[in-house]
Symmetry: C2
Subunit: 311 residues, 2 copies
Amino acid sequence: LSNEAIFIELMRAIANDPAARGLLDDVAVVPFGSETLILTHDMMVEGVHWLPDGDPADIAWKLVAANLSDLAAKGAEPFGVLLGYMLGDSNWDHRFAAGLKEALGHYSVSLLGGDSVGRKELTDPRAIGLTALGRATYLPVPSRTGAKAGDRLWVTGTLGDACAGFRCLSSGMTGHDALVHAFNRPEPRLYEGKILAPNINAMMDVSDGLLLDAHRMAEASGLALTLYLDTIPLSDAYRNLCGNRLENIIEATNWGDDYELLFAAVDQNPVRKLCSSVATQIGFFSEGKGLTLISNDEIVSLPAILGFQHQ
Amino acid sequence: LSNEAIFIELMRAIANDPAARGLLDDVAVVPFGSETLILTHDMMVEGVHWLPDGDPADIAWKLVAANLSDLAAKGAEPFGVLLGYMLGDSNWDHRFAAGLKEALGHYSVSLLGGDSVGRKELTDPRAIGLTALGRATYLPVPSRTGAKAGDRLWVTGTLGDACAGFRCLSSGMTGHDALVHAFNRPEPRLYEGKILAPNINAMMDVSDGLLLDAHRMAEASGLALTLYLDTIPLSDAYRNLCGNRLENIIEATNWGDDYELLFAAVDQNPVRKLCSSVATQIGFFSEGKGLTLISNDEIVSLPAILGFQHQ
């Protein structure tokens, strides 16, 4: 087991409150007064989550987007954030503040508070945390545990663009603005999350790679999942840069940073119609366990790495 | 201006929501459904907020306590936390989890969620953030801006113990368990905060040093503040180790990590009686501005450093 897996098990033993949802769901769901509060916290670390020469405005945007994406997957309406900020140099801080303002303004979310701290050495890598708060728009709040045998698996948007964008950035390749934009400025699916929430059986966002996150949904729901790799939605920009072969499809599904919504829904109208208006059907759940990949009517062996996990 | 002061000004320009209280109050106060949510986020950094050889269980305790202290100062009843955790080695993680469990159990607060992240290099200093949530027990929720001319300033407990405990720890001096305990395991004044909230005009916790925090309350309230240094409450343990001279009193007031409550209240019974049952009167507010220190009926010049601020 990785250190991360061990630590999450330690935390799970502490998190007995039903609001924690067994730490299985990226969010906490807290009945509060007459409403339901939905909370999430994401942390980003220099050198792990962003390139050392990344624009701090993009980093701020992505930190906001990654948190709002967790709320989107629960059909929540975000309203506020708290920031835990490690001070950098003055230029960095100014650019970060500009990106934060832009992202919060774009999504009409308030900066409510937070904390700023110094570093021991100015060369120490920064860590920045964000807590995002939203209100539930539909009860019960979608979980990742609710998929049923026979449900279809759907995903919004296209996959792999951020991965390709990252490769362009790290290799200095220019001319692929849409892919770089997908990496730097992901757009959480808040609208889709709200219209889907009343109509699906399980929902989560894809942040660590489709294969890993889809496998997590199947495991949490106690089901087997079959994925049709040939139906995985890829953008033209991705196909043009990376290609369209099986290995390119798999690369688009095990890297992460997509911030699309992944959901399980019954295969009946009008649900099917609604789902197909915002997403692509890519697989189905059945009794049993495990993840099966299909391409060209053949079973494809699982890649060694299903997605992004900390060591 | 320090980088921290500049960054906080940048954040203040973004934080227009009244729930943010102009980032003046360590907490956000969010009307939500039929109740009022109170939120705070504190971050701690290895080498800045804790000694490299500190017990991770103590660090976890202190992170919880520092956050709950902010809630205590608003009369809030805490109910949950979200953790942003940078993975260490396995032993460190286990000890941290043990301390977290102990602190949360002690205060009946739930772990609701969070995030764990890797570090680029295992030698990089850790940063850990905690968001704490509580519900208001009294409206309006106390602020630090509400002191009135004529109000008396009070502080709970004793000051400087954590400072003295830190000095014992860093110099390897043994036999001062109470002081070391004050540094490692501060106890937020949750009970006092709740009984004081309906009876005071302004309240905050003392975390960055009494002089700095009291000065902040006076500034936020648009008033002058006079402090009687000879009335500053010091523990016997502090007096025995550090002494009782003016310089020792000042040292107890400009270091921080006290997590006591500082509040302004009208000088009339029954409020005075209630305040004196949980706190010590140390000064008074008047029209004007600035901080005046008095000892032995003489004005004492302000020390160069009023408290702890990040560079």
